[in-house]
């Protein structure tokens, strides 16, 4: 197989994998987003034990499959962008540690929660679900905010040993925390729209309020945060000579990375008008979503909410290309050109995705079809032993 010629050139493979990483993040937001949202809403929408059980069982059969999108995101980063994986996971050790423990709580909380009748037992696992939904969402937003505002404080020595010199609390600025709240709003909205498919009154009757509040929050925060992002950040100076070669962040001329603004970065890429159009479309999308919530049925809103994630990640990608992870030590930043895996690995991984992702989507859709429909109090009472 090593003699098999690879039909795509190295740069195309890198660009494709940059897009694919974005696709996997979008997939994660769309798929796991709604069950994270439901878990965050658990204490607010579930007033009785039975109502809480209904909420848990709306996502019960699906949440584990959705979580694989998170695992794949990490796995794809490890496989295609090993520098990104190494820097982000070790540099943000305490952040990842908090995310990890929140995520560990989820499978055991889902599975164990209703296995004992005690109210104390159940409320412990309910807290686990709530934390498991809230903390990863908040920290994902904080991560995006840091990427845009400051970059991360890492550098390499000449043997490519990584060192990270930021402190945990440096990561929490008003801007980044606002991003955290924004992500929570987007995720909560997504969860509430999902529940339109899966619940009846009285829970269904409470959804409108949640959707309106989270919609407004997402609109206001989204417009402000994206606008501010245009004027902060870094840019890749395309006026300087650059060769797209081996994957080694130290090989580039360090001064090619400059502090500046993401808007300037987009201008460097050329086609500013088309980029700007896409950029404007995300705020427009937020406005449309807000208005649509008053005009369209709630179920349709779920798909518009999903589209919002495409807009969010797409906008983020277009603003920041070709940065994979910016560093405060500018030259050490990870770029699409120099942080990827080898040509063979990128190609093998591309084949794996092209073959398996359609299969995964096919049986995932079948799964949702088989288990479609609402969860009612009667369902809980009749299937006490079998349901979560």
């Amino acid at each position: 197989m090593e003699s098999l010629p690879i039909p795509l050139d190295y740069f195309t493979l890198k660009a494709l994998w940059w897009v694919l990483l974005g696709v996997l993040v979008i997939g994660f937001c769309m798929m796991q987003g709604f069950d994270l949202g439901v878990c965050i809403l658990l204490p607010f929408l579930g007033k009785t034990d039975e109502e809480k059980r209904i909420l848990i069982n709306t996502v019960g059969p699906f949440w584990e499959g959705s979580q694989v999108w998170l695992i794949i995101g990490g796995g794809a980063a490890f496989a295609a962008w090993p520098y990104l994986y190494a820097v982000a996971f070790s540099g943000l050790y305490l952040v990842l540690f908090l995310v990890l423990f929140s995520v560990i709580m989820r499978p055991v909380s889902f599975k164990f929660r209703s296995k004992m009748p005690s109210a104390t037992w159940r409320s412990v696992w309910d807290s686990g679900l709530f934390i498991g939904g809230l903390v990863p969402t908040l920290l994902m937003g904080v991560g995006i905010g840091n990427f845009l505002e400051n970059g991360f404080s890492f550098q390499f020595d000449d043997m490519l040993r990584l060192s990270f010199d930021g402190a945990f609390f440096d990561l929490l600025t008003p801007y980044t925390l606002a991003w955290g709240v924004f992500m929570v709003a987007m995720i909560v909205r997504h969860g509430a729209c999902y529940l339109a498919y899966k619940t009846v009154d009285p829970i269904a009757g409470r959804l409108d309020r949640v959707i309106t509040i989270s919609n407004a929050a997402a609109l206001i925060l989204g417009v402000v945060l994206v606008y501010k992002a245009l004027f902060m950040g870094f840019y890749f100076d395309r006026s300087m000579p650059f060769t797209d070669g081996a994957a080694n962040p130290l090989l580039k001329d360090f001064s090619i990375i400059k502090a500046g603004s993401w808007m300037h970065n987009m201008a460097q890429e050329g086609g500013l008008l088309s980029r700007f159009t896409f950029l404007l479309s995300f705020p427009i999308l937020l406005v449309v979503t807000f208005l649509a919530s008053f005009m369209l049925p709630r179920k349709a809103l779920f798909w518009i909410s999903s589209l919002n994630f495409v807009g969010l990640i797409g906008t983020f990608g277009l603003m920041t290309y070709p940065f994979v992870l910016p560093s405060k030590h500018l030259g050490h930043s990870l770029m699409v050109y120099d942080a990827a895996s080898s040509k063979l690995t990128l190609f093998i991984m591309l084949l794996a995705v092209v073959v398996f992702l359609p299969i995964v989507l096919a049986y995932t859709i079948w799964c949702y079809r088989v288990l479609r429909g609402v969860i009612t109090p009667a369902d809980i009472q009749q299937n006490e032993k079998d349901l979560y």
Binding site: P61, E64, A76, A79, S90, V108, L160, L251, F356, K385
Partner: protein, 507 residues
């Protein structure tokens, strides 16, 4: 303790803990599929009750498996960042394929398994259960190909421009003989665990004269599946030993506490007390010729002893130093063709030269004393390996005997006659777990001082994070995992006591 030691301890704790739940998932998922196949073929409701009962226990265990598996994926990046970018090209892609092929499959179909009984036809639900079982086994395949590559890094080479290992042949990585043997051996161990779990609990019910119909039928499935699996484990264990003798000489020598090369064919030490300071085994009880025959499959190939292997390591360290120096030259001038040639000539020993970093900077002026010290690093912990291996093998043979006897009893339809056998079967429940953990200790501790055998030493692989951070996460894991373990046992015990619910009363 420094960052490297704490990170190693944390990985050992989290990995051994994860492997408390994985083998049961592997084995029980197949047993569920077998039992449900029997249900669909015979249409007898008692088999559906069996699937739902064992499925309940499977679910509790599966949740623990998922919860403890995620920290491992995260941990490579968090605690082993240098390793991650050094070998991510190969190792990362194997993990990503595991996700695409296996995790999606098992995670999606486990939901349908529990929630789909009333929505799916009999055949559809059976296919769901088989998909679940195949998913768990595919997951094992890819992670073991990844671990196999750590033990025997084929299909890859060091790139002097990117300063990392890169894949040169995906085919070689997939069909690595170490990985193939390891896969069949490990999933067989999982099948033994699943079978023993079912056997022990069924024996408990028969002793208490409760749920007898399901217990008898479960015992039949467990005995046959267990007998096949326990034989497989030992045969493939032998295969693993053979491939280790081809590729990981030091591991075999350490397992056998063989400090000096013996004339072929070497004898097998069944029992003894290794003395690492004196480099001999006290009170050894040896079977002549057996080790040589098993490990080399020949009468005249020698198995190299630890001291001979250390001498070879010294030579490899010396030979690797020019490669490292060539890399230094290349950093100054990337177009230095002379340096590139020297690197190519010496690159296979670069990993050995890296061992020197534990004591000094690498240069051609390093003294022979320091080289000798660095070569000694290639010797893993002999006593630990010696005993872990023998405990594992001893238990393995015992379990073959147990399953064989149980199988025989089943063929004679003698389920409740021998109370002694039922008690032995019941109390044997922990044995597969002990054997499996011993096996992983042999595999991983035997690979030290390397994370990638012959390529990257463990002490260079860790992240540049403070020891305080790692201590925090380690303590958090220990506390959290202990609580979860207690909860898991409480729930498993509760559902064993409750027993299966029958949909129909049998006559």
């Amino acid at each position: 303790m420094d960052t490297v030691d704490l990170s190693r301890l944390q990985f050992a704790v989290t990995a051994l803990y994860h492997f408390l739940f994985v083998p049961l998932t592997l084995g029980l998922s197949i047993i569920l599929a077998i039992m449900e196949s029997i249900y669909v073929m015979t249409n007898k409701p008692i088999w559906k009750d069996a699937v739902k009962f064992w499925g309940m226990l499977f679910g509790i265990n599966f949740a623990m498996g998922v919860a403890t598996g995620i920290p491992l994926e995260f941990q490579f990046g968090m605690n082993w960042a240098y390793y991650s970018h050094y070998v991510g090209d190969v190792f990362g892609s194997l993990l990503a394929i595991e996700g695409l092929m296996a995790f999606f499959l098992e995670a999606t179909f486990v939901g349908l398994f529990f929630f789909g009984w009333d929505r799916l036809t009999k055949i559809q639900h059976l296919l769901v259960t088989w998909a679940l079982g195949i998913g768990t086994n595919l997951s094992a395949l890819w992670i073991l190909i990844a671990n196999g590559w750590m033990q025997n890094p084929v299909g890859s080479s060091f790139n002097m421009d990117t300063l990392r290992m890169e894949m040169t042949s995906f085919y070689d990585v997939m069909f690595n003989p170490v990985a193939q043997a390891k896969f069949v051996h490990t999933v067989s161990a999982g099948y033994v665990t699943g079978a023993m779990f079912v056997l022990s609990i069924s024996a408990y019910y028969l002793l208490k004269n409760k749920h007898v119909d399901i217990a008898k039928r479960s015992m039949v499935v467990a005995s046959s599946f267990g007998l096949m699996a326990s034989l497989c484990v030992v045969v493939l264990g032998d295969e693993s030993g053979y491939s280790a003798s081809q590729n990981q000489n030091m591991k075999i020598a350490a397992i056998e506490a063989m400090w000096n090369t013996e004339p072929a064919p070497a004898g097998l030490i069944v029992f003894g007390i290794p003395d690492e300071k004196k480099e001999k085994v006290h009170y050894e009880f040896k079977i002549p010729y057996v080790l040589g025959l098993m490990a080399t499959r020949s009468f005249n190939k020698e198995i190299l002893g630890i001291n001979e292997l250390v001498d070879i390591a010294k030579k490899r360290i010396k030979n690797g130093i020019p490669a490292y120096e060539a890399l230094r030259e290349l950093k100054k001038d990337r177009h230095n063709q002379e340096a590139r040639k020297i690197f190519e000539a010496h690159k296979k020993d670069l990993g050995y030269a890296l061992l020197l970093k534990k004591y000094t900077k690498i240069s051609k002026h390093v003294s022979d004393d320091v080289i000798a010290k660095a070569a000694q690093l290639t010797v893993p912990k002999v006593s630990l390996l010696f005993w872990a291996f023998r405990i594992m093998v001893g238990l393995g043979f015992f379990m073959i005997g147990l399953f064989a006897f149980s199988f025989y009893q089943c063929t004679k339809r003698r389920f409740m006659e021998s109370k002694i056998f039922l008690r032995v079967a019941m109390w044997s429940m922990p044995l597969p777990w002990i054997a499996a953990e011993m096996g992983w200790i042999v595999a991983e501790s035997g690979r030290q001082p390397w994370t990638i055998d012959g390529v990257l030493p463990t002490f260079l692989s860790a992240s540049n994070v403070s020891a305080g951070n790692v201590l925090t996460s380690l303590i958090a894991f220990v506390v959290f995992y202990s609580i979860l373990f207690v909860v898991d046992i409480i729930l498993i015990k509760k559902y064993i006591k409750l027993g299966p619910t029958l949909t129909q009363k049998e006559a």
